[in-house]
């Protein structure tokens, strides 16, 4: 019964990954290059003097910064909402109507969301126009640089605001599924509201939050469309860099592009493995 699913996910996915790795090793039949070499990877190392070497490490750092910041901010935001907004109720369930509303935000593809963010927060965007009409700024240049800024703020804002409803829904689903009233039990044992939160509610939602953060991190780490729209020319995020190299007019730089995307995948896998190991250890204690 699993076979069709495994063939599609495992088979297609595995074969494509294999293909990507081959290409990153310089196997480029369309320009008659069949030799396997690690050159593309060497070219990424600092000091090799290639354009790729100048950009790879900054891009890696920038990508880690953006995906890390967006994930953490979103997690803090979602948790904050649960804590502040719903923490006091006896059983922290969402107020009626909010879940369908949050679900609606999921109708926005990331690209569409980023377009909206750009229209709102650009230096000549709608917010800047409002401030101008209020007399708070005189020219677009007076408005802070939030879109296409060298620190990735626009990208982070876009992903954070998009991830918060997603994480919130995950947390609410977890709390909703909790049929036993642990919070009430803790209260009868003498726990204060904050103690209940700290020792009961948080541990309950933590696995879901970790899983959601991992998904979010992986997604942002490998994202292309939004950084392409809201980012600057330097530093660039890894996926943008990879596709740029891949699309370079010189077909030989395709290997470098593929190498960058293979490394992007490898790093995400590493992070996922570490997160899994950490949560596995945590949940192992609970049996």
């Amino acid at each position: 019964m699993l076979a069709p699913a495994l063939v599609i996910v495992g088979g297609l996915f595995g074969a494509s990954l294999w293909y990507s790795v081959l290409k990153s090793l310089g196997y480029l039949p369309f320009i008659g290059q069949f030799q396997i070499t690690l050159e593309a990877y060497r070219n990424l190392l600092p000091g090799s003097g290639t354009p790729a070497s100048r950009e790879f490490l900054p891009a890696l750092g920038f990508t880690l910064w953006v995906s890390g910041a967006a994930t953490l901010l979103a997690a803090a935001g979602a948790l904050g909402v649960v804590v502040v907004g719903l923490g006091r109720t006896r059983a922290p369930h969402a107020p009626r109507g909010i879940v369908p509303l949050l679900n609606l935000t999921l109708a926005f593809p990331h690209l569409v969301w980023a377009v909206a963010i750009a229209l709102l927060l650009a230096q000549s965007g709608v917010l800047a126009r409002v401030l101008f009409q209020l007399g708070l700024i005189a020219t677009p240049a007076d408005f802070p640089v939030l879109i296409r800024d060298p620190y990735g703020i626009g990208i982070i804002i876009s992903y954070t605001t998009k991830l918060i409803p997603f994480l919130l829904l995950m947390l609410l689903a977890t709390l909703h599924a909790q049929t036993d009233d642990y919070a009430a039990a803790a209260a009868t044992l003498g726990a204060s509201r904050w103690q209940t939160l700290r020792y009961v509610t948080l541990p309950l939602v933590l696995p879901a939050l970790t899983a959601g953060m991992l998904l979010g991190f992986a997604f942002v780490f490998g994202a292309y469309e939004v950084p392409a729209l809201l980012g600057v020319q330097f530093p660039r995020m890894l996926a943008v860099l990879a596709l740029d190299f891949f699309r370079n007019a010189d077909l030989r730089s395709r290997a470098e592009g593929m190498a960058i995307s293979v490394l992007t995948g490898a790093i995400v896998l590493l992070v996922a493995a570490v997160a899994y190991a950490l949560t596995a250890r945590r949940t192992a204690g609970h049996g």
Binding site: M1, L2, A3, P4, L6, V7, G10, G11, L12, G14, A15, S16, W18, Y19, L22, P29, F30, I31, P51, R54, E55, A122, Q123, S124, T139, P140, A141, V145, R148, D149, P150, V232, Q233, F234, D244, R247, N248, A249, D250, L251
Partner: protein, 418 residues
């Protein structure tokens, strides 16, 4: 069941690594290029898949409305305009098809630029020998050096022109007095630093040739001429490039966002210009700001202008891949593009395309056609740069080798450096 799925998985993996092309039915022998009537007959009932940049809605509707209708009515050909965000996607597609041995493929005609033309030539993916066999090719000046080199790459028999373009700036006559416009790179530097943050250019790089062209113009002016850059000379590059970077780095702190960010596309720059973040935009259109005004992308007071010299002009082309499934229809379409009536239509701002003639008006013998073409030129009006000024500043592009030197050098020395 698991064993079977495992086997299938293995097959898939193997298929991914093997280079044996999938067996496909061979095409019937194509009509000889000299037999135009047979080509037209073969093309009837075909669908021509035209891959082109789809970012401009006005260009999209111009293509559908003018060529789509005419192809259907006159030749019984269906036009499938395939919009891509970047012509390089079509290149990717062709390379993958070649790698997999797919023939016939999926692309019949590409609106292509020099970089991608070079890539496809490198990969030997283009169909050749056809451009001067088109009936309308007699209207094209195949002796014009600006036409027979695409970004400096010889077009040989692989490309047929569609339209022409020339690098120009746009300003807003409601905000800027024409008398204050800079007319050289030197004056631009002065202007920019006197008006901090009010100027920027498109980041040079693959797919953003306008930015590269802006930098090339600076190189021409610094070195005192465009002619010596027609052929590649490494020593000459090493002599002048430091001065080029020096100029651009001097300009950088005066730029929009002090040069830490640059618009990635022409349209992004139009947006900055229209929203008063910067004072000038860049265009390639013979209508100047006309087509953009018609589209609503810039204010109606926008006008075009040029420096006194070094405004690179060129042609743009269509090419047919070697594995085009509907070659006859592609040839008919490439020929249709050169019809005087469509050439006249394509330059008018209200039609939404707004690029110049691909044909040479002087070669048009039909009196009425010629009159239409000339009248169209006269109708461009105020938003366009006067033809005389355009011609006076016109220079051809530099050799293709400089393209990536400029793009990578710019990233290294201007964008990232210091």
């Amino acid at each position: 069941m698991y064993q079977r799925s495992l086997l299938l998985l293995l097959c898939l993996m193997l298929a991914a690594c093997s280079n044996t092309p999938a067996p496909l039915a061979p095409l019937p022998a194509p009509a000889p290029l000299d037999d135009w009537e047979r080509i037209v007959a073969d093309a009837r009932g075909q669908t021509v898949n035209w891959y082109m940049w789809g970012g401009s809605e006005s260009i999209n509707s111009y293509v559908d409305q003018f060529y789509g209708t005419a192809l259907q009515e006159r030749y019984g050909i269906t036009l499938n305009r395939v919009p891509v965000s970047d012509a390089v996607l079509a290149v990717d597609q062709l390379l993958s098809e070649k790698e997999a041995g797919i023939d016939p493929g999926s692309i019949d005609l590409i609106w292509i630029n020099g970089e991608n033309f070079a890539s496809l030539k490198q990969a030997d993916m283009l169909y050749g020998g056809w451009n001067q066999k088109l009936p309308n090719s007699v209207l094209v000046d195949y002796t014009n050096p600006a036409l027979i080199y695409d970004f400096g790459v010889p077009i040989e028999t692989f490309e047929s022109p569609w339209s022409s373009a020339q690098f120009q700036f746009i300003y807003d006559s409601a905000r800027t007095d024409p008398a204050d416009l800079p007319r050289s790179y030197a004056a631009l530097l002065e202007y920019a630093c006197a008006n901090q943050g009010r100027f920027t250019y498109i980041a040079p790089g693959p797919g953003a040739f306008q930015g590269t062209r802006f930098v090339k113009g600076a190189l021409f002016e610094l070195s005192g001429g465009a002619e010596q850059w027609r052929n590649f000379d490494q020593a000459q590059w090493e002599q002048w490039s430091p001065q080029l970077w020096a100029y651009l780095n001097e300009l950088k702190p005066c730029l929009w966002r002090t040069g830490s960010a640059y618009p990635a596309t022409e349209y992004e720059l139009h947006g900055l210009f229209a929203n008063r973040e910067v004072d000038y935009s860049i265009t390639q259109s013979v209508t100047g700001a006309g087509a953009l005004i018609a589209e609503g992308a810039v204010p109606e007071t926008a006008r075009a202008f040029v420096f006194n010299d070094y405004m690179i002009g060129d042609y743009n082309y269509v090419a047919i891949p070697r594995n085009a499934p509907n070659r006859a229809a592609a040839l008919v379409l490439a020929n249709l593009l050169l019809e005087p009536e469509f050439q006249a239509a394509q330059i008018l701002p209200e039609n939404g395309f707004g690029l110049g003639y691909g044909i040479d008006v002087r070669k048009v013998t039909d009196e009425q056609d010629r009159a239409t073409l000339e009248a169209a030129m006269d109708r461009l009006g105020a938003p366009a740069t006067p033809p005389a000024e355009l011609l006076a500043a016109l220079v051809p592009d530099a050799a293709p080798e400089y393209q990536s030197l400029i793009e990578e050098g710019w990233r290294e020395n201007v964008l990232i450096g210091n």
